[in-house]
Every structure is written in structure tokens, then in C-alpha cells.
């Protein structure tokens, strides 16, 4: 009986840790120009010249002028603001992609 309880407690703790880790992601924002586009992944080059690969899934939302558009609206050369999450910058899944007007390279007020 005691052994069964111990196993149950260990099981609950293990599940809790796994669930916590599964949702333990950081939020990232990537701003730049699409340089490569595939069905489930695209690359964005930011103002510093750094390229970030980001995954797309069925839940990824794409919008332009605050209106939703299809993923197929994404094109190479577009300026985008991507809100994504993941463990680090090398493992990002896009939550929200905004197609924005071209971002000036050094525009200041």
C-alpha cells in the first residue's frame, strides 16, 4: 500500500515537472525582412544583419493592417514583426506575424 502511494506521488511530481517544462518558454520578437520562405519555416533578417529561422504551424496567425490574412500572403522581401516563443532564439515557433510597411534602415525622429 505504501509503495503504491509512493509511486503515485512520484508519478504526479513527474507529470507536473514535464507539464511545467512544456510551457516554460520565453517570448521573443523578431523584426526584419523575410529572406527565405518554406511551408513550415521562414527566415527573417533583422536590422543588424542577423538571420533567425522561425517555424510556422496551423495556429500561427498572420495579419496585415490589423486584418487577418492567409499564411500564403507571406512573401520574400516583406517586412514583418514576428512574435514567437521557444526555449531560445534557435528554436522559435511563430505565434503572430504582422506584415508591416518597409522598415527604414536608419530612420530617426
Amino acid at each position: 500500500m505504501r509503495k503504491q502511494r509512493l509511486v503515485l506521488v512520484l508519478l504526479i511530481v513527474t507529470v507536473a515537472i514535464v507539464v511545467t517544462r512544456a510551457f516554460d518558454h520565453e517570448h521573443f520578437r523578431v523584426i526584419g525582412t523575410i529572406t527565405k520562405l518554406q511551408k513550415t519555416e521562414f527566415d527573417v533578417k533583422d536590422k543588424d544583419g542577423k538571420t533567425t529561422s522561425i517555424y510556422i504551424d496551423k495556429k500561427t496567425k498572420v495579419s496585415r493592417d490589423e486584418k487577418p490574412v492567409a499564411v500564403t500572403a507571406l512573401k520574400v522581401g516583406q517586412s514583418v514583426v514576428v512574435d514567437a516563443y521557444g526555449d531560445d532564439v534557435f528554436d522559435l515557433l511563430a505565434l503572430d506575424i504582422r506584415i508591416v510597411p518597409p522598415i527604414p534602415a536608419t530612420k530617426t525622429k
Partner: protein, 217 residues
């Protein structure tokens, strides 16, 4: 020429009796002042009750009273005494400048104990989205509480933390112009944290009150 001065310019020498009487009067006067004023005021000794009658006795009591120790502890938790809140440590000061490029955002928060106070002033030189909010210690992200999300370019105020945690601002540049934000704060916070778009959380170090220059004007 006065009548008391002799013809040769030498003043007349008082007699021994006159000197004795004058000395006695001076000593008597000194003793009276000592007993009625100096002893009650300086030492709390009041044999004639003159110190109590004149209020001089309280002067000696003020000097002898043991000062109340400040609140103890390491956490900057306020102790309320009527309209006064006392803390077991000094407040901190901080000033920051954030430059946000197109569509960039940043979060900057201070750790405050429950009921601790923060004074703040910030301004932006362009349109900006802002959310003044807090995250309780040890709570999930869903426990975030927003205090002010009104569109503003400037905000000056005070804040009393409703719970122990990190409290501060999310600023987002919604346009294509670069926006600069200047933030100045003072308060009973222990640390500051900066959250970036790259998923990093960096600790920043507020300054102690010794950083405030002395105003000698």
C-alpha cells in the same frame, strides 16, 4: 569729569565691605540662576519646581530619551505609524533611457514588497504603447495585473505595490520612427529587471541615495 573720579584721574578704591557685599550678591544671583534654570534645563534637577513651572525641565528630558530604533529586517516592508510609513532601509534612485527602434518593445520593472512605495516620471518623444503592470513573486505569467494601459506619452506619479513582486512598464514602439523614453524613479525597491525582445531578463542596479548630489544653494 565725574564726581567719583579723583583729581589725579585714578578712580576711588571701593572699601573691603563694598567688595564683599557685591561678591555676595553676584554669588547669590549665580546660585539662584543655577538652581532655578541651569539644573532643571541641563540635568533634570528641579529642587524648587521652577523647571516644571517654566517648561525648562522638558529640555533635559529631550536630551536623555533613548531614540526609537528603526524597523529591523532586510526586506523593505513598510511599518505604518499613522500617516508615516517607516522602512528598515534607505530608498533607492534610478534613471534610464531606452531607445526603441520600429516595432521594438522593452519591459522594465522594480521589485517591491507589498505596500512599498515608488515615485516615477517617464516621458517618450513619440507615440508609444504602454502597460504599467505587476507580476506577483512566484506566480505564473497569467497572474500579471495591469494598473494602467491608457495611451500616454508622459506619466508622473506614485505607486503603492498591492503585492510583493516586480512592478513596472511595458513600452512598445508601434511605428517606424525611433522613440526615446526617459524614466526616473525613487522608491523602496531592491532590484530592477530589464526584459528584452530576445527573451532575456537582465538585472539592473539602482543607486543608493548617496548618488543624489547635495544642493548647497
Amino acid at each position: 569729569m565725574s564726581a567719583g573720579i579723583a583729581q589725579n584721574g585714578v578712580p576711588p578704591v571701593p572699601s573691603a565691605k563694598t567688595l564683599a557685599v557685591a561678591s555676595c550678591l553676584a554669588v547669590t544671583g549665580a546660585v539662584v540662576i543655577l538652581v532655578t534654570a541651569v539644573l532643571p534645563a541641563e540635568y533634570g534637577i528641579d529642587p524648587l519646581g521652577t523647571g516644571k513651572a517654566t517648561g525648562l525641565l522638558t529640555m533635559s528630558r529631550a536630551g536623555n530619551v533613548e531614540p526609537v530604533p528603526p524597523p529591523q529586517g532586510t526586506a523593505l516592508v513598510p511599518s505604518d505609524i499613522g500617516n508615516v510609513a517607516l522602512y528598515p532601509g534607505e530608498y533607492k534612485v534610478d534613471s534610464r533611457v531606452f531607445v526603441l527602434g520600429p516595432y521594438e518593445y522593452i519591459e522594465f520593472k522594480y521589485h517591491l514588497e507589498k505596500h512599498a512605495v515608488l515615485l516615477f516620471s517617464w516621458s517618450a518623444d513619440g507615440n508609444i504603447l504602454q502597460d504599467f503592470h505587476g507580476d506577483p513573486d512566484g506566480a505564473p505569467a497569467s497572474a500579471t495585473q495591469s494598473y494602467d494601459k491608457q495611451p500616454r506619452r508622459k506619466s508622473d506619479g506614485t505607486f503603492t505595490a498591492p503585492f510583493s513582486g516586480i512592478h513596472g512598464w511595458y513600452w512598445e514602439n508601434p511605428g517606424t520612427n525611433t522613440v526615446t523614453i526617459k524614466l526616473t524613479t525613487a522608491g523602496f525597491y531592491t532590484a530592477a529587471h530589464q526584459f528584452t525582445m530576445r527573451g532575456t531578463r537582465e538585472e539592473r542596479h539602482p543607486r543608493g541615495i548617496e548618488a543624489i548630489p547635495v544642493n548647497d544653494k
